[in-house]
């Protein structure tokens, strides 16, 4: 087929352009030849265009059901809904690799489109790193994961998309995650450029700050969207199972969070230079670690990943990047000495250091847990696997400490604060936290860790509110403004600070969601005939009707559905329809959960089986406060937009 051949040809051209951009950028920067750097820039704009063309070609092939292309055959079918044809683009290894390259090339194109300003010296080296990474991806696509590979004959029908991936959130989850991975390449490329040029002051951090923020927020949102998909589609009632696939996106998020915070220290106090260069690189390396882990067969996962040598290419690239970074850091060790002086132990600097250690410690622990079966098999011959309770045991305390520090850090000055001053500035928070804890215990909360978690959340929320109130009142007094105007002005004049506070507040909402759903999940498993009812956690579910093996999608889907009316007392609140369907593309049934959410709790119903006479088995779960996770995600986006919004032009 012509289009597939063109697609492959475009990939070859992309590789050629990216390779040229790498060479031209390096020599242009090294030999101070601006015309070579300009040529590298043009080549990078070309790779952005070419990879966009590749993506469009794959989309055309998918939508036109060109089953002679293996990737199309394996991921779509004529009966597949168009929205899921889009999801099929990134449902497999080949398509997701192309998505990654495309994202990286487009972001690189956006970066080089503008003429260099602060980064005149760093830009060529950053371009070289970005171009090399693009060349690496293009090479893998050509050699190992060609999405345009043809089958020897043309099948009449495709296999279709895995029904588990046929979900709205699976349409948007992979693009967000790969956008995040691609965005993390940019701070890492500038860290490399800073090392090569020796310009290791905070310039590279300030200049890439908005890219870093976008990368950080995209990764966080991508993880939340993945959790939401798992919650809706996998039907076990949870949103996070500490599976290696989940862990491998959480690890770069934790390290990236450490980087975002230690970057602030270098910006303000010129400390942690080496640390920041290393963390930026490490976050990037960890984004490609995920692919290595899942494809190398190194770890045992329930996800039956097709093993592919691609994992070892990733390992090679990771080692290359780390070795180059460490080598350059050793060569630049003098320039990595910052000007800043350490303060007292009771100082904001030290709190930031603890924050960093906690984040990196938890990242290391999650990494170790993910590789635990591999380690234990190597050491004692028997592979041992961690359960969620193992992860919760360290992640719970470390997470709560981190959250507590969000509430303490703004109260502590740079350099030094006396313990009396600190106590004086946080007594209100302590009182609020204690009252929260007492109230929870009085109202019958018995899980101590949940009480602690909510008390810590109350402490931190109080700090955030007090800080905001102080800022607004200071403005109201100084500028004689009303509350609304003062709030808008205070936020507008200090977007970084208030954006950061809003993001911290979103983390509190997520903590509330996690705590509530972990502490109070309740479950009932029941078999019902039509007309029967069951009472669960204040709800009455009346099993009204069912549909047994109704044929859909041209005979490729058999729908099994139960219809339940949900009552609160005598009042009918809603009707829900859990499903358990058969698909021609997979063996066995696939669950579609029925959900009713409100701010207090989710009613989560799984149809466990349905017989021809209507006898049905249900698993009914009450998951408290899960919705706060998703609300937290929305607030996180809002906070990031405020923190990253370009300042008004005022010649800073």
């Amino acid at each position: 087929m012509v289009l597939a051949d063109i697609g492959y040809g475009v990939l070859l051209l992309t590789l050629a352009a990216a390779a040229w951009a790498t060479v031209a950028a390096v020599f242009g920067a090294w030999k101070r030849r601006p015309e070579l750097v300009a040529s590298a820039r043009s080549a990078l704009l070309v790779t952005a265009g070419l990879s966009t063309l590749s993506a469009i070609l794959l989309l055309i092939l998918l939508f036109s059901h060109a089953f002679e292309v293996r990737y199309v055959y394996e991921h779509v079918a004529t009966f597949l809904k168009p929205a899921y044809v889009l999801a099929a683009f990134w449902a497999g290894l080949e398509g997701s690799q192309l998505l990654w390259l495309w994202m990286l090339a487009v972001f690189t194109g956006m970066l080089v489109w503008r003429k260099p300003t602060w980064d005149r010296e760093l830009r060529p080296w950053a371009m070289a790193a970005l171009a090399l990474t693009q060349a690496f991806f293009a090479f893998l696509l050509i050699m190992l994961t060609n999405p345009y590979e043809l089958l020897p004959s043309v099948p009449a029908e495709g296999v279709s998309l895995n029904p588990l991936l046929q979900n709205f959130w699976m349409i948007i989850h992979p693009p967000i995650i790969f956008a995040a991975y691609a965005l993390w390449t940019i701070p890492a490329a500038y860290a490399f450029a800073a090392l090569v040029t020796g310009r290791l002051d905070a310039g590279w951090l300030r200049g890439t700050r908005r890219w870093t923020l976008a990368a950080w927020a995209s990764l966080g949102i991508g993880i939340l969207v993945g959790a939401w998909w798992a919650y809706l589609e996998l039907g076990w009632g949870g949103y996070w199972g500490w599976d290696p696939v989940e862990n491998s996106s959480l690890i770069p998020f934790l390290v990236g969070t450490a980087f975002v915070h230690s970057a602030i220290i270098q910006d303000r106090r010129d400390m942690f230079r080496a640390w920041n260069v290393f963390l930026a690189t490490l976050t990037f390396v960890l984004t490609i670690f995920a692919t290595f882990v899942t494809r190398s067969g190194l770890i045992q996962s329930v996800h039956a990943f097709a093993q592919s040598p691609i994992g070892y290419y990733y390992l090679g690239y990771m080692l290359l990047v780390l070795a180059a970074t460490i080598g350059l850091m050793l060569a630049r060790r003098r320039d990595l000495q910052g000007e800043g002086q350490l303060g007292d132990l009771l100082s904001r600097e030290f709190i930031f250091l603890i924050t960093n250690l906690l984040l990196l410690g938890s990242a290391a622990a999650v990494l170790l847990g993910t590789l635990w079966p591999t380690f234990t098999e190597a050491v004692r011959g028997v592979a041992s696997s961690l359960g969620p309770e193992n992860y919760n045991r360290f992640m719970g305390p470390l997470g709560l400490l981190l959250v507590l520090l969000i509430g303490i850090c703004p109260l502590i000055d740079w350099r030094k604060i006396s313990s009396q001053q600190l106590l004086k500035s946080m007594w209100i928070q302590v009182v609020v936290a204690v009252i929260t804890a007492v109230l929870l215990i009085v109202f019958g909360v018995r899980e101590m860790w949940a009480v602690v978690s909510f008390a810590v959340t109350a402490f931190v929320a109080t700090t955030i509110v007090l800080q905001l109130a102080q800022g607004i009142m200071a403005r109201m007094r100084a500028a004689n403004e009303n509350v609304l105007k003062a709030t808008a002005q205070a936020v507008a004049n200090n977007r970084r600070r208030y954006g950061g506070q809003i993001i911290h507040f979103s983390i509190l909402l997520i903590v509330i969601g996690i705590t509530g759903s972990q502490a109070y999940q309740s479950e009932v498993q029941v078999a019902l005939a039509t007309g029967e009812t069951v009472d669960v956690g204040g709800y009455t579910l009346a099993y009204e009707d069912y549909t047994f093996q109704q044929v859909e999608e041209d005979g490729n889907k058999a729908l099994n559905e139960a219809v339940l009316d949900v009552y609160r007392g005598d009042r009918k609140v809603t009707t829900i329809r859990p499903q358990r369907n058969l698909h021609s593309s997979v063996q066995g049934a696939v669950t579609e959960v029925a959900l009713r959410s409100n701010l207090k709790e989710d009613l989560y119903v799984v149809l466990a089986s349905l017989e021809a006479d209507g006898l049905a088995a249900f698993q009914v779960l009450i998951n408290p406060m899960v919705i706060w996770l998703w609300i937290g995600g929305i607030v996180l986006i809002f906070g990031t937009l405020i923190a990253g919004w370009p300042p008004r032009k005022r010649g800073r």
Partner: protein
Amino acid sequence: MSSTMKFIIGGVVVVAVIGILIATSFSGSTSDYLTIAEVIALEPDQARDSRVAGEIVPNSIEWSTRDLHLTFTIEDETGTLPISYHGPQPDMLVDAVEAVVVGKYDPAAQAFEAEELLMKCPSKYEEEE
């Protein structure tokens, strides 16, 4: 004491606390991957869960909608193992699929009481989470 020294000591203490927390989290309640012969030979007082992987023996799956009770048999090179599980059937549970079961072997019933069932996706799909 210089502030650098203070920072180093403070940092070391924090790292030590994190390390101890992680080390204690990793001990206990982990589950070993065992073969069927190994899990049957295990001492009955073994308190920890085990993980056993095996292929589902064709025509062995039995499910009772009334009690939400599932039984099936898995086999590996070392033997066969009857599995008993209370709860909803997992997705894609079919003959000849590779299953991982987590739970304990009950010598009296000569069956494995599973708390968790994981099906390895049978098709060529790769999960892209």
